[in-house]
Symmetry: C2
Subunit: 126 residues, 2 copies
Amino acid sequence: MRNTRQRQVVLDIVRSTNTHPTADWVYEQARKVIPNISLGTVYRVLGRLQEEGLVMQLDDGSRKSRFDGHPGPHQHIICERCGRIADVPDVVDQAATERVQQMTGYQVSAHRVEWFGLCPECQQGG
Amino acid sequence: MRNTRQRQVVLDIVRSTNTHPTADWVYEQARKVIPNISLGTVYRVLGRLQEEGLVMQLDDGSRKSRFDGHPGPHQHIICERCGRIADVPDVVDQAATERVQQMTGYQVSAHRVEWFGLCPECQQGG
DNA sequence: GTGAAAATGGGAACGAGTATCATTGCTGTT
DNA sequence: AACAGCAATGATACTCGTTCCCATTTTCAC
Ligand SMILES: [Mn+2]
Ligand SMILES: [Mn+2]
Ligand SMILES: [Zn+2]
Ligand SMILES: [Zn+2]
């Protein structure tokens, strides 16, 4: 794994925000620093960062992936109106995991929780 | 909402299995009954059934949606090798929901849990 | 039956993401 | 510092699940 300028810029960007941005947003930001960086490179770098565990990839219910430069055991709540994503602590404990394992026979390696609702801002505007 | 042959066939198919099939699989099954049914119609009907709450739409991590003709409060565990999806009871309770609501300020309307792991069959084959 | 509105079929279009490949530029070695 | 090897990049073509379009068909309230 080589330490390229592109890799460093993408990592910095995805770590600089807590908005869980799309690949396209990361791309737009990256172009401000490296104007001719390609979208393919952004996807390639984000994919590699995810494999290395430096980035989480989220699904907000739309077709676009969203990325989180602050990995670690936490979950997400997504506003159904504006798409805003906030962090939420994990509510699934070891006992629940073992229960699921017992019941299904699956060997559980991970879980993911998404909450949906209205963010405070969107609750205001009828 | 009109009760068309296409709608009835798609609903029957998606209710006839517990494999959480893809739109394409539903389409192939439907063609056995209505040979010239179009894929667009299958998508349209599935989308409408979901709006009506008769069908759940799942995300298995791949690019394809999967559909569940047995909606209601339950969750899913997905095999990371073969993609098989099994049902799992919900481990998230009212207390957890209220805690999340308090902490984030979001008004929670739904949640989704996906477990990942190896199904019993895939644990066998090295 | 008749008419208005909704649904369909077929095919084109869309778009997020992936693949390809010639070129570039890290990095370890001399 | 030059070099060699090879991983990473930029540009662009491609994939394919899903959505859109519209002329035609079908449903259903009357
Ligand atoms: Mn997060
Ligand atoms: Mn299910
Ligand atoms: Zn919002
Ligand atoms: Zn399996």
